[in-house]
């Protein structure tokens, strides 16, 4: 299966700041998803984005499949954005999603 690397591992922001999270993958993907795991452990799907750009409110994501990376942008961060952000991907005939180790985001008031 593919390897997924996320950066940075930790990020601390003041409320209102913007941030960019990065996900690199070792091979071509045909399935790429971003998730947010809140402090209570619930995983919420943010984007299904094997290629291109999508936006949902203050969040947007871009995947450049040819260069094997994806970016998650968070604008005007709020304390409720705190938690762990995971990128997960799969490629070829292997449907299994491989998760990265996550980025722990802390937004301070």
């Amino acid at each position: 299966g593919i390897q997924v690397e996320q950066s940075p591992p930790d990020l601390i922001l003041q409320e209102g700041a913007n941030s960019t999270l990065r996900c690199n993958f070792s091979d071509s993907v045909n399935n790429l998803q971003w998730f947010h795991q809140n402090p209570w452990g619930q995983l919420i799907n943010l984007f299904y984005i094997p290629s291109g750009t999508k936006q949902n409110g203050r969040l947007s994501a871009t995947t450049v499949a040819t260069e094997r990376y994806s970016l998650l942008y968070i604008s005007s961060s709020q304390t409720t954005d705190s938690g762990v952000y995971f990128c997960a991907g799969s490629g070829g005939s292997n449907y299994k999603l491989t998760f990265g180790k996550g980025t722990l985001l802390t937004v301070n008031p």
């Binding site: 399935n31 452990g41 995983l43 449907y95 998760f99 180790k101």
Partner: protein, 113 residues
């Protein structure tokens, strides 16, 4: 639309005991997944079902773990006998089909003493 349901939410057992987890996916979702998430790590896929057939179970420790999805709806994951290293959160997810958006349940936190 109801989300993915899991039970129990918490379980504490002693090593060598057995335990079972239950998952009810979103109605109409053909694909169901069981993940194991150890503290500080991303979820790891244990088994993936398409309807009631297994798509991938390459990372399921088959000497102690088993899973079934009868009638292509609900699923159970069993551990027998449990080891200390099985302490983790067990997450169930579902999607309309393969390679589609996955929706996760709240998870079951297992502590093996």
């Amino acid at each position: 639309e109801a989300g993915v349901a899991q039970s129990p939410r918490y379980k504490i057992i002693e090593k060598r005991q057995s335990v079972a987890f239950w998952c009810n996916p979103i109605s109409g979702h053909a694909t169901l997944y069981w993940y194991q998430q150890i503290l500080g790590q991303g979820p790891k896929l244990l088994i993936q079902f398409q309807n009631n057939g297994v798509v991938d179970d390459s990372q399921l420790p088959k000497d102690r773990f088993s899973a079934e999805r009868l009638k292509g709806v609900d699923s159970t994951l069993k551990i027998q006998p449990a080891k200390l290293e099985d302490s983790a959160v067990y997450l169930c997810a579902s999607s309309p089909g393969n390679q589609e958006t996955q929706y996760f349940g709240p998870g079951t936190r297992l502590l093996v003493l």
